[in-house]
Symmetry: C2
Subunit: 231 residues, 2 copies
């Protein structure tokens, strides 16, 4: 019960953010005074590429997809956001516009914090500033490896990466109900949905996974890791 309340409380959620620790009580209070919550249904846009970066967002509950809107309406999903994550893009300290779109995959409760308050913290607290730099750097690093993966690995390697990412980073379990459909799995791995389906089937035939529509179970993780590494 206690856990449930914590899960749904905006303030509790922010505590999960690594960088929150660097703030004084006063600074935490400052954030609390400038936050508001909003709920989203699956498919709803939380923020859209091109719109002003007026707030920074914490995901309180639910899952969302972060994606680049590419050419001819082709998207690239760059990550899945889950509770406790702070989401802010590179436009926050640039043109003040979002450069990716954030869409709810499930019911989502999000906590919006005024961007000006968050920016103030950089000036008030240098440890926070350092933490923020570290945070942005980590995301930048992910993009490097995403770029290598998407341009240099073949389809089975990319799909294996996606499955391992979901299992390890998102669901923290080797069996899960995937919230991405085949199309979205394609947007995450840069492949056509038909190819996702075919290779998923190959994985099943090879005994790497079982996949019943939305449910995926990893049967042979070491082998899946090898597929990820070799192609």
């Amino acid at each position: 019960m206690e856990k449930l309340i914590a899960e749904n409380d905006c303030r509790a959620c922010m505590h999960r953010w690594e960088n929150f620790k660097t703030l004084t009580d006063e600074q935490k209070q400052l954030i609390s005074e400038h936050r508001y919550e909003a709920n989203f249904k699956p498919g709803e846009i939380i923020f859209k590429k091109g719109s002003p970066t007026s707030s920074v967002i914490f995901l309180v509950s639910g899952m969302a997809k972060v994606f680049l809107e590419g050419l001819d309406g082709k998207n690239i999903i760059i990550s899945i956001a889950k509770p406790g994550m702070m989401i802010s893009g590179p436009g926050t300290y640039g043109d003040l516009r979002h450069h990716f779109t954030l869409t709810a995959l499930t019911n989502v409760k999000a906590c919006f914090i005024d961007m000006l308050v968050m920016k103030q913290l950089v000036h008030l607290n240098s440890s926070y500033a350092e933490g923020l730099i570290s945070d942005i750097s980590k995301k930048s690093l992910l993009m490097y490896y995403k770029l290598i993966g998407l341009t240099q690995k073949k389809m089975p390697g990319r799909l294996a990466d996606a499955i391992l990412y979901l299992a390890n980073q998102i669901y923290e379990s080797d069996e899960f109900d995937i919230i991405l459909n085949r199309q979205e799995l394609g947007e995450f791995t840069n492949m056509a949905k038909e190819s996702v389906i075919r290779i998923l089937k190959d994985f099943e035939d090879d005994g790497l996974i079982t996949s019943n529509c939305s449910r995926i179970k990893i049967l042979d993780k070491p082998k899946l890791q090898r597929v990820s590494e070799n192609g």
Copy 2:
């Protein structure tokens, strides 16, 4: 003459960095006291992926390539560094290791500044910290568009992008001696060197450019831009 001296002086070089303006004289002095210079010949490694991030680098003169070392020795050139640029990677505020390699393309004079000093500045000067965040964000943004370009554009579009990048950002002229060979142009655009050669020839046949080995001249920039946008 005066210009030449300025070009080759480490301190003068840093002044070109946008974020340098935010520093006090005392802080500028601090940097000056912790810098040292080194010279590199074409092909020499300035820093290598995996090595410790002990310094931040300013390019005083010459050009260098920033590249990711991908799978099976296949590289991805992410940018060309030219004088006045501050080069530091996402590992600086993370695992303290470089995640890309920096190699001299011409004779290079580089100015190394102790990383600890640079990190100290984040704590001493919040405007500097904000500038650094802005700097990192800008680089992150470039990676987004690089990812879209490399995964969604076809070869002619990617190669057009590369030529426009070199003309607009690097040489600031529509005619230039390219310091990247065909292999490297391929590493920049994610294509085989043979494909670079073929499409470069197509561009010539279509009157977009002239290309005599290392010299490239853009003849029809609007058309080249259209190639960049449409594929």
